[in-house]
């Protein structure tokens, strides 16, 4: 059970990281809200 939860959380982290990268690569947020971008994703 614990292993399954860990497996699911890892999958969730993967999906959320993918969403973060896709959003950072876009010109801006897809709707009318743009969250503060983390330093790791910022291109300066």
């Amino acid at each position: 059970m614990k292993r399954l939860a860990l497996w699911l959380l890892t999958g969730l982290v993967g999906i959320l990281t993918l969403v973060s990268f896709a959003s950072a690569a876009s010109a801006c947020g897809w709707v009318f809200y743009q969250p503060e971008m983390p330093a790791k994703l910022r291109r300066e």
Partner: protein, 218 residues
Amino acid sequence: MIRKHFLSAAGFIGSKVGLSPEDQEVVAYGLEVTFSLIISLMLTLVLGYLLGIITETIMVALVWMIVRSLAGGAHCSTLWRCAIFSPLVMIFLGSAARLFSSFDQKLVIVIILLCGFIALTITSIWAPADNAKNRILSASRRRKLRDKALAVEITMIMLLLLACHFTGNEYSSLLVAAGLAMLVETLTVSPVGYSVTAFLDKLLEGMEKAVWRGGEQR
């Protein structure tokens, strides 16, 4: 304010999976983006369904997000204002598309051409729109995004015109919805769009404050 909750949720997930603080911030950002998208889309689809314009609303949302990811645009300052503003704009466009679809096929073609022409003009002048939270500082990245936005818009206009030619008036509400979504999304890239969005953001902020004050008095 709400960012704190996403950070603590990411902290919880990170402690289980073993993420560094920087990676937890990336996960929190992903949670915030996903949450704002789901809230806005859910409200848009529910309202669209209740008003009987679900297909037009889906078309508007789809075109809106594709063009916005490349051309950018103005933003509301909080997630909740976005959750109110995005569905209202998309529902308004869906309703307008339903209204215009009753027009003659030639007029639908003219509407699509007009929307496309204005969208392309604005994109070539102002896109990609900059915003304080996601700066586009590199000139080459700006050029790439603008070129991609123009290419996507030209492709969309061609597809809409072809679809209008081959399907007649059968799907004209969907075609007009796509044209209007492209037009209004690119309008938010222009300085006028920024001013209008800032004004509406302030208006919603005033309403928010009035509601909170009302709650405190009670």
